[in-house]
Symmetry: C2
Subunit: 192 residues, 2 copies
Amino acid sequence: MKLLEDRILSDGKIGEGDVLKVDSFINHMVDVEFVNKLGQELYRLFKDCDVNKILTIEASGIGIACITAQYFHVPVVFAKKTKTNNIYADVYTSRVESYTHQKTYDIVVSKEFLGKNDRVLIIDDFLAKGSALYALIELIGQAHAETVGAGIVIEKAYQPGGDLIRNKMGVRVESLARIKSMSAEKGIEFCR
Amino acid sequence: MKLLEDRILSDGKIGEGDVLKVDSFINHMVDVEFVNKLGQELYRLFKDCDVNKILTIEASGIGIACITAQYFHVPVVFAKKTKTNNIYADVYTSRVESYTHQKTYDIVVSKEFLGKNDRVLIIDDFLAKGSALYALIELIGQAHAETVGAGIVIEKAYQPGGDLIRNKMGVRVESLARIKSMSAEKGIEFCR
């Protein structure tokens, strides 16, 4: 999506440790009108998939998911992060290994809000190694619901997550911007 | 706001420890079309205040803030929770004592995203003792920005936070539903 690529080039910042900061329009400050256009594009991509629920993960996915959900006219469920290892009877649980923050945490979704009749579109801001996305797909599986696909804002296509989820898990993943390579010296190159 | 009060009565659940669970439409699953109506009402209340930024706190405030921001045509900044005590040079920091979760944490906003020309509307889902709201107002003060007011979805009016912020801090607080009393036995009564 050219609009997004242009914005990443103008306002994204490459930080240490393979970090792409999009704090000024997605991740800390949210340019809501811009995100609305991302939501429209995600709707265009998945509008024929009978989506009846959008699933995301707190915190930075929530804004994008809620804005996108307006086009689908469906509710958003956000998985909550938890540090406890307790398995509660009333929640689905799965584990995320965050490479960015170098820690492991569990995510939970209440069983009330995900069930076998759901056709779920996952929305998230980033896809790199795929740990968060994998965990969300696992939660949907626990609920015997259907993962219709995943709509990602920015995919680091040089990392294995996207291919893993597409090929090994057979889930449709659409990323609005796919980064082919990124470095402070050479800048950002997108997949074409 | 009658629409909200009715929804709280039909779908809210009173939990142990003075907890009102609105998980099924605000806090875990988000009924986006419903939240849109809350956003419209918040816009009606604050539309003449020259708001140029909306501030909220992760995670559950983000959806409401983003949807509301669409009416104001302004960006959302969400304060991030952090457990570290580090004071970074490039962020504003303030402390929240969460009674619900019985812990203390810091919230931070990057100095890039809040400054002296900002007229800030705070949006949050709950107001009880007022610790989170107080901390957000403090952040805005650190940035020498102006707190235009606070738009709250549900205020526990029997707790001291609302009056404290209104009277002692002189900040306009508008709550879409104000709970006068709440108990498992007697149910929920709203302020009229």
